[in-house]
């Protein structure tokens, strides 16, 4: 099973958990949502917790979902008006509440929002925002960063180390890749 993980795509950890192959994984609330619906016995014994703390602190990855208006939009005023309407609390509240904590809101104004009430097991997602960082933190967000993420540089480094390649070699090759990506920008 160990080797299987190296070939996992986005859905495999959900399946492995619900298939009782694993008992702990890093994921959004989707596992519990599906478990409550289709695997009630597993749902009864499933909970969420923050990532363990290491010597440098506690960290979570943040995948920011946001809207933007392109410079060449034919009607930027209308686009802005639409986004203002969309992000108005009346719309945003409904959307957040319907999401089963799959999306956590950025603004502190939502810290005590009713979306956190129905299921106390989702509260760790709210707490995780305090220690959530963008990929590449403390480096700045940049094209080079997004390229290194899209090329799975760090993920592959760990995968190769896990499958038995020499730690020194995998670090060296990942560093070389990153140097090439960042130097080219």
């Amino acid at each position: 099973m160990f080797e299987d993980v190296l070939g996992w795509t986005d859905v495999n950890n959900n399946k492995a958990f619900l298939g009782e192959q694993i008992s702990c994984t890093n994921n959004a609330s989707s596992i519990l949502v599906v478990a409550k619906r289709d695997f009630p016995e597993i749902a009864k014994v499933t909970d969420h917790g923050l990532n363990p703390q290491g010597p440098k602190g506690r960290f979570h990855i943040i995948n920011a979902v946001s809207h933007a208006i392109v410079n060449h939009a034919p009607d930027p005023a209308a686009a802005k008006a639409f986004l203002r309407w969309l992000y108005d609390d009346k719309q945003m509240s409904r959307w957040l509440a319907s999401g089963d904590a799959y999306y956590a809101p950025f603004l502190h104004g939502y810290d005590n929002h009713p979306m956190w009430n129905p299921e106390p097991r989702y509260l760790p997602y709210k707490e995780s925002l305090k220690t959530a960082r963008l990929h590449g933190w403390p480096g700045p967000a940049s094209h080079a960063l997004s390229e290194s993420v899209a090329k799975y540089v760090l993920v592959d480094m760990f995968a190769k180390a896990c499958r038995g390649d020499s730690t020194k070699d995998v670090i060296a090759s990942a560093a070389a890749q990153l140097k090439q990506i960042y130097k080219a920008k």
């Binding site: 190296l6 070939g7 495999n12 410079n71 390229e147 090439q180």
Partner: protein, 310 residues
């Protein structure tokens, strides 16, 4: 009385009379281009334009929502120094080479069998064609289940039968992952070879086989000296098409392994997609996609010349 054979010649138009629209249209030079027109326009719009635009993109540093900066061959130079690019190149060639050999031999065997007369032949032909007919998205989902790390039916059967203690990692082990993709591509593509070669086999007159048999040729010799030479052009053309399609194979690999584990199954098309679409680096993605071009061009030119010589 001599009878002249009827001709298609029309009486010459009266001097001084203008040619009609119909007359113009019926000229071979005009009519043939008219008939080719829609096809040519389609090719220009959906093949030629994206192709040349892709070349243009590959010469730019072009990110999503940013104007492009012309950088010449810098993208290609960057790729040449990228170890992952060479791994992707190796993966692609290995994938194409092995699947082509397997599909060719399997397809030829399939065609030879389907060319025989036996009861249920038409049903057998229909079933053998199914992998090619079923939409790739659908068959890929089925294979995802067959090779799934948790729910693989192959592993379940083997474990239940006591053949193995724990399941194989079809998509997690680098070699098995490439092997699995080769198996799936072969399964899907073999009928294409089979049906095309069958069409070629059916053009072979049975007189040739009878003559060879009378001369004492064994079935192997009949295959080697009668069948193969006649179907060689078909073989070459179908191989050429299959190689082109397989070089550009995307959905199968992306759905099953997404190029993993650790780039072990990334091919040009999937890596170009990740770079172009996920990282937003359209110029670099185009450069990767065009990396297939030299190899393909050499192959196609070579095969075309070989065909012409034949």
């Amino acid at each position: 009385m001599a009878v002249r054979p009827a001709t298609l010649a029309r009486p010459a138009p009266l001097a001084g009379r203008r040619s009609t629209l119909r007359g113009v249209l019926e000229r071979e030079g005009v009519f043939s281009w008219l008939m080719l027109g829609p096809g040519v326009l389609f090719l220009l719009a959906f093949v030629a334009y994206p192709f040349f635009y892709g070349i243009f993109l590959s010469l730019e540093d072009r990110r999503v929502a940013s104007p492009g900066i012309f950088v010449g061959l810098a993208n290609f130079a960057t790729l040449a120094h990228d170890a992952v690019f060479w791994q992707v190149t190796r993966n692609t060639f290995v994938y194409v080479a092995i699947t082509t050999v397997l599909k060719l031999t399997g397809g030829l065997g399939m065609a030879l069998v389907m060319n025989q007369a036996f009861r249920g032949r038409n049903l057998a032909r229909a079933f053998l064609l199914l992998p090619f007919i079923v939409p790739t998205a659908l068959s890929t989902i089925a294979w995802m289940w067959i090779l799934d790390p948790t729910f693989s039916v192959v592993n379940w059967l083997l474990v239940r039968a006591g053949v193995i203690a724990s399941g194989y990692s079809f998509l997690g082990n680098a070699t098995l992952a490439m092997g699995s993709l080769i198996v799936v591509n072969t399964w899907r593509g073999m009928p294409f070879y089979g049906i095309t070669l069958l069409a070629g086999l059916q053009t072979i007159s049975s007189d040739l086989y009878e003559a060879a048999a009378i001369d004492g040729a064994t079935s192997v010799q009949r295959f080697r000296y009668v069948t193969l030479p006649v179907i060689k052009p078909v073989l070459i053309i179908v191989t050429m098409f299959s190689v082109i399609f397989t070089f550009g194979d995307f959905q199968l690999i992306y759905a099953l392994t997404h190029g993993g584990p650790a780039n072990a199954t990334h091919v040009f098309s999937t890596w170009a997609f990740d770079i172009g679409m996920l990282a937003g680096q359209l110029g670099m993605g185009a450069a990767v996609a065009l990396a297939i071009l030299p190899a393909l061009a050499v192959l196609i030119v070579g095969l075309t010349f070989y065909l012409r010589r034949e």
